[in-house]
C-alpha cells in the first residue's frame, strides 16, 4: 500500500480550507443563479480507497447526474459536481421555466441547462481555489453524463492510480435549498492530480515532509 498521501493534519486542514472556500463560492453562485438561499456542509477530507470513495455517494452503481471538468495550469486535477437525476431536473426546470423538460430523461434543453449550471458552479469553485492559492488554474470545457457513480468518478482517479491505491477526497455537500419540497444533495469532488499537492502546499507555505 502506498504512503504517497501520508500527510499530516495541517496538510489536510489546508485542503479542507480549499474545499470550504471553493464550495462556498459555488454556493453563492448557485444562490444568485436561482435567487434562493443555499446551505453548505463543512467540507470532508478523507484519505480513502477507490471503493470507499464510491460508497460515499451511495455505491458504484448509484445513478447520478454529473458535470465533469478538468483543471489545468499550475496544477492539474479533476472536478465533479454530482446530484441525483431528479434533483438535476428541478434545477434545470427552474433555469428554463419549463416543468416538462427533464435532465433525467435526456431532454436536450434541460441537459444543456444542467451542464451550464455545473459549469458555473465548478468554475466558481476553481476560481476561488485559484484566488486563494494565487495559482493559475484553467478549466476545460465541461462534460455531462447521467450514469453509474463508479463509472464516472474513475475518470478522475486515473492519474492518482498511477501512484497510489488511495485518493484524497475533498468533498463538499450543498443542501437545504430554499423553496424545494425535497432535500437537495449536491456533491462537489475535487481530485487534484498527485503532483498538484506539493505545489499547493508550497504556495501556501505548508511544507510537505
Amino acid at each position: 500500500m502506498s504512503d504517497y498521501f501520508n500527510f499530516k493534519q495541517i496538510h489536510l486542514d489546508v485542503l479542507k480550507e480549499i474545499g470550504n472556500i471553493g464550495a462556498g463560492n459555488a454556493a453563492t453562485s448557485l444562490s444568485h443563479l436561482i435567487n434562493r438561499s443555499v446551505s453548505m456542509d463543512v467540507p470532508v477530507i478523507n484519505v480513502v480507497t477507490f471503493d470507499e470513495m464510491m460508497m460515499e455517494i451511495g455505491g458504484k452503481d448509484e445513478v447520478q447526474a454529473t458535470v465533469f471538468v478538468q483543471a489545468n495550469g499550475d496544477i492539474s486535477g479533476n472536478m465533479f459536481f454530482m446530484i441525483p437525476p431528479d434533483e438535476a431536473d428541478l434545477f434545470a426546470q427552474l433555469m428554463i421555466g419549463d416543468p416538462s423538460e427533464k435532465v433525467s430523461e435526456g431532454d436536450e434543453i434541460a441537459t444543456s441547462a444542467f451542464l451550464e449550471l455545473g459549469n458555473i458552479l465548478t468554475g466558481s469553485y476553481l476560481r476561488a481555489f485559484s484566488d486563494f492559492t494565487q495559482l493559475d488554474i484553467n478549466q476545460s470545457v465541461p462534460h455531462v453524463a447521467i450514469d453509474m457513480v463508479g463509472a464516472m468518478l474513475t475518470q478522475g482517479l486515473l492519474e492518482i492510480s498511477t501512484v497510489s491505491d488511495q485518493a484524497i477526497m475533498i468533498e463538499t455537500i450543498l443542501h437545504d435549498i430554499e423553496g424545494f419540497d425535497q432535500a437537495i444533495k449536491g456533491h462537489f469532488f475535487l481530485l487534484p492530480n498527485p503532483d498538484a499537492y506539493a505545489t499547493i502546499f508550497q504556495v501556501l507555505g505548508v511544507h510537505s515532509s
Partner: protein, 165 residues
C-alpha cells in the same frame, strides 16, 4: 429456478475467483475492464477489475497487481492455477472500456477505456486464451455478473437495461 446464492463482489483494481453456485460480479465499470476467465467444465471463474493498460504506468514499486491489465491477468491466472485450473481450459469474456465523457481534445487519459480493451485483447492472445464474447466501448457505465453454471455474462447499464453475452 436459479439457486439463490451470494455473489462474490470484486472491487476496483481487485480480483477474485468463485465457483458455482456462487456468481462473481463487479459494479460501475466505466473506462475500466471487467475481465472474466472461466473453466466451463469445472465451473470455476475468476474476475479482475482493471483500471489501466500497463504496469509501466505505475510510478510506485509496489502496487495492486489487479490495477493493470498485464499484471492483473497474470495474477488472476496464478490464482486460478493455484486452484488446479489448467490454462488450456480457460476462456474469456470481458466488458467495459467505455469513454464516459465525450471530449474533443482527447487526452491520453480520456481515451483510456479504448487502450484498456486493446491491451487486454493483446494479452489474452499472447496467453492463447480465446475471447468468447465482449461488450466494450461506448459511453455507458456497466455492472457485470458472471453466471458460472451457464457461462453467461450479465451486463446491466442505466439506459439500456440488462443484456447477456
Amino acid at each position: 429456478m436459479t439457486q439463490v446464492s451470494e455473489a462474490v463482489k470484486v472491487g476496483i483494481a481487485d480480483l477474485n475467483i468463485s465457483q458455482h453456485p456462487q456468481t462473481i460480479m463487479t459494479a460501475g465499470l466505466g473506462s475500466c475492464i471487467g475481465l472474466v476467465l472461466y473453466d466451463e467444465t469445472n465451473k470455476i471463474a475468476g474476475l479482475v477489475h482493471i483500471m489501466l493498460p500497463d504496469s509501466s504506468m505505475s510510478r510506485n514499486q509496489t502496487f495492486k497487481e489487479a490495477k493493470f491489465a498485464d499484471t492483473g491477468l497474470l495474477a488472476l491466472l496464478k490464482l486460478l492455477e493455484s486452484q488446479g485450473v489448467r490454462k488450456s481450459r480457460l476462456k474469456a469474456k470481458m466488458a467495459g472500456g467505455a469513454q464516459m465523457f465525450n471530449s474533443t481534445n482527447s487526452s491520453e487519459m480520456m481515451r483510456i477505456g479504448y487502450r484498456n480493451a486493446e491491451a487486454v485483447r493483446a494479452l489474452l492472445k499472447e496467453q492463447n486464451i480465446p475471447i468468447v464474447a465482449e461488450d466494450c466501448g461506448g459511453n455507458k457505465g456497466r455492472t457485470i455478473e458472471f453466471m458460472i453454471d451457464d457461462s453467461l455474462l450479465k451486463i446491466r447499464t442505466i439506459h439500456e437495461g440488462v443484456t447477456y453475452i
